[in-house]
């Protein structure tokens, strides 16, 4: 039967694949020896991770004074990195949950890795508030648990407590969403692998999945419900992160625009990171027929949209500062653009407002090299956005007498680097040992944009009846 293509819908998977081909292609990277490039990337990542771990160990043993903080600037790189990583995570949930609810079926090629990225980014983010406490071994004090000090409970009016609940819920739900989505795929690998060890291991983690349609029916519902729960959750998480700032009275932070502005920025930065990762992955793991130029184009369009929202937020902030008539608020924004950290503001504006405009050109959207370069710029720009918000407001607050500067120490920089080391180490391990593409989902969209695969009645001859075989 010849392939029939729809003129309206592009197929989501290129190449004339069968279901078995999909299984083979997705499982191939897991079943062959790790490539040299994987080892090089892995060794570099682990090296950087160790650097970060040593920095954190040094900081924990010595005190937060090893960072460039002072009385005026009580938080700098730690908060910046925290907000940056949480933001990265948001694209994963957007792809897996929100695009699922919107029936954007192209998401199936990228959702597994994007969800993994979310989990790893949230783990990276979670480290910073914990080490910022100075005594991370008491981090459990953030939880309201019955204790012998009263019991003295946490202050539920504090955005920092909200944050702790938001991040831990986000991590839990993201993990469940990712893992539940992976159970059928783990069963697929379990049933095809030759290695006894892997069969045992995956047999354990695939929960005895047997592909029963009675299970599939509930599973589909469960997936929809989790998507429905994760969608408001992801919006709430960055909203609450923004409240850490907005509920304070610092000029430049105390604005109601923060929640939507932060959520849009989070999705914007997250998509840039998804693109950075996916462009490497599709090349290194030969998944170009699954993560196609069409997918990359779609993600670039999301970046144009969210980049536009971020630009609008920047302009609104400036306008509101002027229109408020509040001298401190006006000063905060003049200082932001023209003060001692003005250069970081212009890095931010260049990377987050100008760079995404290149994606208006289809040629650029369909050129992986260009998209990769631009996505790196956006990643940098969005890190600077958080740095700008935190630094310009903290260094120049109400009293000129308490103004100060901030210079990152080497420990600040190595800790930031270390978080990238952790992120890439986890991602490389994921790429090596787990299915990068949701096989169970992509098989369901294989026929998308192709002929439906007609079922024509055929003639059959009667055959001998098989002898019954015994099972169970």
């Amino acid at each position: 039967m010849g392939e029939v293509f729809s003129v309206l819908r592009q197929p989501l998977v290129l190449g004339n694949k069968s279901y078995a081909d999909i299984t083979d292609d997705v499982c191939a990277p897991m079943e062959r020896q790790a490539s040299l490039s994987w080892w090089i990337a892995f060794i570099i990542s682990v090296g950087v991770l160790i650097l970060g771990a040593v920095s954190i160990a040094y900081q924990v043993m010595t005190g937060v004074g090893v960072w460039g903080l002072n009385n005026t600037v009580g938080g700098a790189f730690d908060i910046t990195n925290f907000v940056f990583w949480i933001g990265i995570g948001h694209a994963g949930t957007l792809i897996s949950a929100i695009l699922f609810l919107f029936r954007q079926r192209w998401r199936t090629s990228v959702n597994r890795s994007a969800e993994a990225m979310t989990i790893f980014a949230v783990i990276c983010a979670g480290i910073f508030p914990i080490i910022h406490t100075g005594r991370p071994w008491f981090a459990y004090w953030l939880f309201p648990y019955p204790n012998f000090r009263g019991p003295l409970w946490v202050n539920f009016r504090s955005p920092l407590v909200w944050d702790m609940f938001a991040i831990s819920t986000y991590l839990t739900i993201s993990f469940l969403f990712w893992y539940v989505g992976m159970i059928p795929d783990l069963a697929t690998i379990r049933d095809r692998t030759k290695s006894l060890f892997r069969k045992k291991l995956l047999g354990f983690f695939s929960f005895g999945w047997d592909g029963s349609n009675k299970t599939w029916q509930r599973y589909e519902k469960l997936y929809l419900l989790l998507a429905g729960l994760a969608t408001p959750l992801v919006v709430s998480v960055h909203t609450i992160v923004s409240w850490d700032f907005a509920t304070s009275v610092i000029p430049g932070w105390h604005t109601t625009i923060f929640p939507p502005y932060f959520v849009a920025g989070a999705v914007f930065s997250g998509f840039a990171m998804v693109l950075t990762l996916m462009l490497i992955v599709r090349k290194v793991m030969n998944l170009e027929e699954y993560i196609t130029l069409h997918h990359i184009e779609q993600m670039c369009k999301v970046i144009i949209a969210t980049g536009g929202m971020v630009a609008l937020a920047y302009l609104t902030e400036i306008f509101v500062a002027y229109y408020s008539g509040n001298g401190y608020e006006r000063f905060a924004f003049i200082n932001r653009a023209l003060g001692p950290y003005g250069w970081t503001y212009w890095v931010m504006v260049t990377c987050n407002i100008l760079v995404p405009q290149f994606f208006w050109w289809k040629k650029i959207r369909r050129s992986p090299g260009m998209v990769f370069t631009l996505s790196i710029f956006i990643n940098i720009g969005m890190w600077f956005e958080r740095f700008v918000i935190i630094m310009t407001s903290l260094t120049r607050d109400y009293l000129p007498g308490s103004w100060a500067g901030f210079t990152p120490t080497i420990i600040d920089l190595t800790t930031l680097l270390g978080s990238f080391g952790l992120f890439f180490t986890l991602f490389l391990l994921f790429a090596r040992f787990l299915p990068m593409i949701a096989m169970g989902e992509i098989k369901g969209v294989l026929r998308y944009g192709r002929g439906a695969g007609e079922t024509k009645p055929v003639e059959v001859r009667k055959e001998e009846v098989h002898e019954p075989t015994l099972v169970g």
């Binding site: 739900i173 029963s212 003639e459 019954p468 099972v471």
Partner: protein
């Protein structure tokens, strides 16, 4: 008790769907279908009721929210009241974010656990794979031979129209 099952295998989800519909029209008892991915419309073809999982999620979410709201009020106003910046002890608007998060947490975790319990899936469970390749590219329909007039050859003829790949009789001992 043992049952005689008829395991029929197909290569394509549309064949499975059509065969399932035909089997139901002809009054055969469908035990289950096994597929590598969720085939849409198969639950209807099999005559399954829609699941009530969403109601469970709703109940779990509401109980999580109520429990957490109560807990916040109890800790802040009853157990150890602390005056924070002159704010009321029962500052309910400030309790909304955490209430929301815990609602999502209860609903999400609870629904997953309920799903696993309902479908009897647990870590380390030994899978009963009905047919090799059912998690890869095969589509399997299992009928129950529940009466004396069940004729395997009739089924073979019926399913033959839908590109039947293999037909196999099995006895399930429980």
């Amino acid at each position: 008790m043992s049952r005689r099952l008829l395991v029929s295998t197909f290569d394509h989800e549309n064949d499975l769907l059509a065969a399932t519909n035909a089997a139901r029209e002809h009054g055969y008892t469908i035990h289950d279908a096994y597929t590598p991915f969720a085939v849409h419309g198969l639950d209807k073809a099999m005559g399954m009721r829609s699941t009530r999982l969403a109601w469970a999620t709703l109940i779990l979410g509401i109980s999580g929210a109520i429990a957490k709201l109560w807990f916040q009020i109890w800790t802040s106003a009853t157990s150890w009241p602390v005056n924070v910046g002159g704010k009321p002890l029962k500052s309910v608007p400030a309790f909304v974010p955490v209430t929301f998060e815990v609602m999502v947490l209860f609903a999400g975790v609870g629904t997953v656990l309920l799903f696993l319990a309902m479908r009897k899936l647990w870590p380390g469970k030994k899978p009963a794979v009905i047919y090799e390749g059912v998690t890869n590219d095969r589509f399997v329909l299992v009928l129950v031979q529940d009466n004396a007039s069940f004729n395997v050859d009739e089924v073979r003829l019926l399913f033959g129209r839908f590109h039947l790949v293999q037909l196999e009789e099995r006895i399930e001992r429980s």
